[in-house]
Amino acid sequence: MPQIIRYGSDTVPVRTGKGVLASSLPKQGWGTRGDLLMQLQRFACATISLVVGLLLAGSISAGTISLRWDSLGGATGYRVHYGTASGAYTSVRDVGSATSTTLTNLTNCADYYIAVKAYNSQGESTTFSNEVVGWSRPEITSTTPGAVKQGDRLTLNVNGANFQPGAALDYDLVGLPTSLAGDPLVRVENVGVVSCNQLQAQLVIEPTAAGLRAMEVGSFTVNLDVTNADSVFGASTAQLNVQFAEARADVNDSDAATSDRIDGKDLVWLAYSFGSGEGQPKHNTDADLNGDGFVDGEDLAYLATRFGGCWTGSAWSGSACQ
């Protein structure tokens, strides 16, 4: 009997950027020519034991599974049979001569078993094609948080449906800044599926220590993909707003008496690097408050907004501290 192959999609993205967790996803192709020849021969003998050469489940979206298969000579139409138990198909859709269809209104997070039969004027094939099984395409409905600060290490929640155990997360910032050494300034670690509706990971926003270039302040578009073990994936986009971490304005660490306080010493250190770019002799990475690779007026302005403030133990004060 010809093999029916289920695969995710012929458009599975393979990302190579830093901070990407999903591995390359091999595509699975159509059946061999030999399979089809065998089926044709059987069809010519009017046995119609199997008329579908290859059934593919792909292009799956939330609550839906889209299918396509090889056309078969002599067939005038196809019927897709499906249900939530193997071999016990409770629903059928006649798609006519089309070789693809989309099953809709499927229950999320549930296995669906699908097979196809072909028909012509002589009737319907007596047996099903081989069966494919799987969930609907993963769907991402929201991600939190959308706003972070430089240096944050926090839990990223990806909410949606059809997340299977072992699903991979691809969290790819468009135009992701990197350090001078090429390291990513936003990373996703420890991906885990909490439930079929939620996936969690640790989101790391650099820096986690002095001397590291900070993640750049700004709004970034994030391309998100959740890929299940069967290579079916769901994609979405989100915005990540990276905010200035006030603690970075405490640039100077030469004097313990004024640590956790943003004062003239911090100003002098920033001013010393003023106008320098990353890699230049006078550049102080810690003075690049907004993480854009330069110590300039923007950094001075950020420091000015916090000048005189200090760490109160729970927050940075807005007014001058005693």
């Binding site: 004024t258 003239g264 002098v268 250190w269 950020y302 005189g308 403030g309 807005g318 007014s319």
Partner: protein, 185 residues
């Protein structure tokens, strides 16, 4: 980075740096007359000391403090808090000095007087990483206070430092800071 954001923030910085002075809104004139007595008249080399000039006429309640740097080498910036009795005086405004500007250098000033009785001051050059040597005495910054009650208050420097032109700048050692006493009658 976004160019518009850069321009907008630059405007902010220029406004802070280039206005040549600032501070709280002028308060109504008081009936008090202020004066200032320095802790040290001529403290010598490697010192920062303070003198005061009382206002006259309708500004008799104002006292402008002049913070001098005396005979010190390689200064890239300065950091200190000026502390006084908030029941006795309030901060009015500031204006740039001449020390760090020597040679036409760009200088940034940051002043925060949002806490009564305390003025947080930061001054630094922003170009070249070259320090300045002051052979005699020159003014780092002018700070004007208003006397709001009769009595006296010490004017003290806390966490003061002159910072040199090392990379990164380090507090100069052996520099003494002298304030004084503000009197209102």
């Amino acid at each position: 980075m976004h160019r518009f954001g850069t321009i907008a923030l630059w405007v902010l910085v220029v406004a802070v740096v280039g206005c040549g002075g600032g501070g709280s809104s002028p308060s109504p004139s008081t009936n008090f007359q202020g004066s200032f007595t320095p802790d040290a008249q001529n403290p010598g080399a490697n010192t920062v000391y303070t003198t005061g000039t009382p206002g006259t006429g309708g500004n008799a309640g104002l006292v402008t403090l002049h913070v001098y740097v005396n005979n010190t080498s390689d200064i890239y910036g300065a950091s200190f808090d000026l502390v006084f009795d908030p029941a006795m005086a309030q901060f009015v405004n500031w204006s740039a000095g001449q020390v760090l500007e020597f040679g036409g250098q760009s200088v940034t000033y940051q002043i925060n007087a949002s806490s009564p009785g305390r003025v947080v001051v930061g001054v630094a050059r922003t170009s070249g990483g070259v320090g300045v040597t002051v052979p005699d005495a020159a003014v780092l910054i002018h700070l004007t206070l208003r006397v709001i009650d009769a009595g006296s208050s010490t004017i003290q420097f806390t966490d003061p430092a002159l910072l040199n032109s090392q990379n990164p700048p380090q507090p100069k050692t052996g520099v003494a800071f002298f304030g004084g006493t503000l009197t209102g009658v």
